[in-house]
């Protein structure tokens, strides 16, 4: 019961704070692609992989008081901050979850910008293609972002190093 909610709580307990809904979406996707067993279904959307199921589950966890959501007004949009609450920790303590240790991956993902994570998650979305075709595909589906070769190179290094974390 509510195991998928508990898995997300485990993520928040490691991450301490996540800033931005887009960043949160991409972090969970990248972890999923690195064999962390989150169950949320993703589809490709305008800004890369997106899960409506995740959005709704986060809304549930917020309404239950397990995570706090703070809205910060920016110049022309709102930004959201997420943190685990005391009730959330209590809820999590009641579960024994069969999950690998993904602390290091979460810490590394949390230091990255949402633009970079959008790139990484998009590349992972097309990971059934050869690497040279993935770069082409990124430019086709994200022409406006104008990702540079350096960014793509950095993203590949990041993806490879995450896989090493996963093996460790």
């Amino acid at each position: 019961m509510l195991t998928n909610h508990a898995k997300l709580m485990q993520f928040f307990s490691i991450a301490k704070e996540v800033t931005g809904r887009k960043k949160l979406q991409k972090m969970i996707y990248i972890l999923q692609k690195n064999n962390v067993p989150f169950a949320e279904k993703y589809q490709f959307h305008f800004y890369g992989p997106y899960s409506e199921e995740l959005s709704l589950r986060i809304e549930e966890l917020t309404n239950l008081g397990f995570i706090s959501e703070e809205r910060e007004e920016k110049s022309n949009y709102y930004q959201y901050h997420y943190q685990i609450t005391g009730d959330g920790r209590e809820f999590l303590n009641q579960f024994t979850l069969d999950m690998p240790d993904f602390t290091l991956m979460v810490e590394r993902l949390n230091t990255k910008s949402s633009r970079f994570l959008e790139l990484v998650s998009t590349m992972l979305y097309f990971d059934d293609l050869p690497r040279n075709e993935i770069a082409e595909k990124v430019h086709v589906v994200k022409p406006k972002q104008n990702y540079t070769d350096e960014e793509l190179k950095e993203a590949w290094m990041f993806i490879d190093s995450l896989q090493e974390n996963q093996l460790a």
Binding site: M1, L2, N4, H5, G20, R21, K22, Q25, K41, Q43, F44, H45, F46, Y47, Y50, E52, E53, S55, L56, R57, E59, E60, N63, L64, G65, F66, Y77, Y78, Q79, Y80, D87, F91, Q94, S114, F126, K137, V140, V141, P143, K144
Partner: protein, 437 residues
């Protein structure tokens, strides 16, 4: 004349209760409708178990797919002289609209969850694999099937084309809201689609709405909100969905334990192994599923037998409201009491959350997690809908989640020992007890 431009001698029409008529003039569309893969959609209900709550909801994915095609046909007719619209994409849009749900199976949602499938993978496989649909698409031009698959997967280069089929105000939603409202008989899902189609404008890579059409869009958003609570997330439908998914879990569990079914569940075996290939997937329609459920009512396994009998005869679970923050201890006690009473709580004590059935609400998506609906203002600026509309802002900020605890009240009431009283007390504490009618 080349195949892609071929027109029927006479326009064909399908009488449709929602759009009055669905018009077909392109030979390609006519041929696609005639394929076995598309005709199969007649045997898949659009709303799965909803007909157990709203008896009219017997319409199929076939009806809906034609409806989406018709809406897209009308939109691109309106766009034909717009500067941002590429008229060469017309046939691609029509094919993608018609085929967007091709991979749906029976009771898709439960099947996907239990057997770890994704109907969208099957849509891709049907379009790109060795099928009648694929043959027709490749006759249009080499590589055309890949383009159709990319539009449906939302990875096609022209985002404008994608947004007609899939965005927060798209042909898919506009059809299913109206169609589901019509067939369920509720009065919530209606909005002025004609008006919305008239105020849609293609701008760069998205479809936006002229600000003068804002009130029609408000109505559409309201309709989404009301249909969610009144139809899609109806607690009785959820009860049927809970039982359905427990049947599939039980059958899979028994198969893994080498249980000897009275009739070999041939059609299910690749699903139990979580590896159905396309041919097997296409064979499993609702008629086949019901055939097995009928048979499983006579199985020796008491859980499978009971769950199938409940599903076939609409003897559903009852429910109470459940708050996981305040009632975890009660739930754990209930779980133990059910076990002690010999009622397997894995099958008979089920918490169902709103996120278990993610029909999506409108989301402003201001942090670029998803593209919002944009209004085109008189000065040509784009504004996100909820920033302009108080009604939409109010709905976007509303609590939209809940959790329910489902259980077989008939089994609980027939219990003889002292546990019954305690179980009833715990369930009553869950809130006002409601009954599934």
């Amino acid at each position: 004349m080349v195949y892609k431009d071929e027109q029927l001698d006479e326009e064909k029409v399908f009488k449709d209760p929602v759009h009055r008529y669905v018009h077909v003039k392109d030979r390609v569309i006519w041929d696609l409708i005639a394929t076995p893969e598309f005709q199969r959609l007649r045997r898949i209900k659009q709303l799965g178990t909803t007909n157990l709550t709203f008896h009219g909801a017997e319409h199929s994915r076939f009806n809906h797919s034609l409806g989406v095609y018709e809406i897209v046909r009308r939109i691109i007719f309106n766009f034909r002289n717009e500067p941002h619209w590429n008229t060469k994409e017309r046939l691609l849009c029509l094919c993608a609209a018609l085929l967007h749900d091709l991979g749906h199976g029976p009771f898709s949602h439960s099947f996907e969850k239990v057997f770890k499938l994704d109907h969208e993978d099957f849509t891709q496989q049907i379009i790109l694999g060795r099928t009648h649909v694929h043959t027709i698409l490749e006759k249009v031009e080499r590589g055309f099937s890949q383009k159709v698959a990319d539009v449906i997967a939302k990875t096609y280069e022209d985002k404008l084309v994608v947004s007609l089929i899939s965005s927060q105000i798209d042909a898919d939603r506009m059809d299913y809201l109206q169609r589901d409202a019509y067939f369920t008989g509720v009065s919530y899902g209606h909005f002025d689609m004609e008006r919305i189609l008239r105020v849609m404008r293609p701008i760069d890579d998205q479809v936006v709405i002229k600000s003068s059409g804002m009130h029609a869009v408000e109505d559409y958003i309201m309709s989404r909100y009301q249909m969610y609570w009144q139809v899609y997330f109806h607690p009785v439908t959820r009860s049927a969905e809970v039982i359905l998914s427990k049947i599939l879990h039980r059958a899979k569990y028994l198969f893994e334990k080498k249980y000897r079914f009275k009739l070999e569940p041939t059609h299910f075996i690749s699903f139990f192994n979580e590896r159905p290939v396309l041919d097997e997937y296409l064979k499993l329609d609702e008629a086949i599923v019901f055939y097995y459920f009928q048979l499983w009512q006579e199985e020796d396994d008491p859980i499978l037998r009971d769950l199938c009998e409940r599903f076939m005869n609409r003897r559903l679970f009852k429910y109470v409201e459940f708050n996981p923050n305040q009632q975890m201890n009660q739930w754990m006690e209930l779980y133990r009491l059910f076990q002690e009473a010999g009622i397997d709580p894995e099958y008979y004590l089920v918490v169902d959350s709103s996120s278990d059935l993610p029909y999506d609400f409108y989301r402003p998506g201001e942090e670029e997690e998803r593209l919002p609906i944009h209004l085109l203002m008189p000065n040509n600026e784009l504004r996100e809908l909820s920033r302009q509309s108080d009604i939409v802002e109010s709905i976007s900020g509303k609590k939209r989640t809940d959790h329910k605890l489902y259980f077989p009240a008939d089994i609980v009431s027939s219990m003889q020992d002292g546990k019954k009283q305690r179980i009833l007390e715990l369930l009553d504490n869950g809130g006002a007890k409601k009954h599934v009618n």
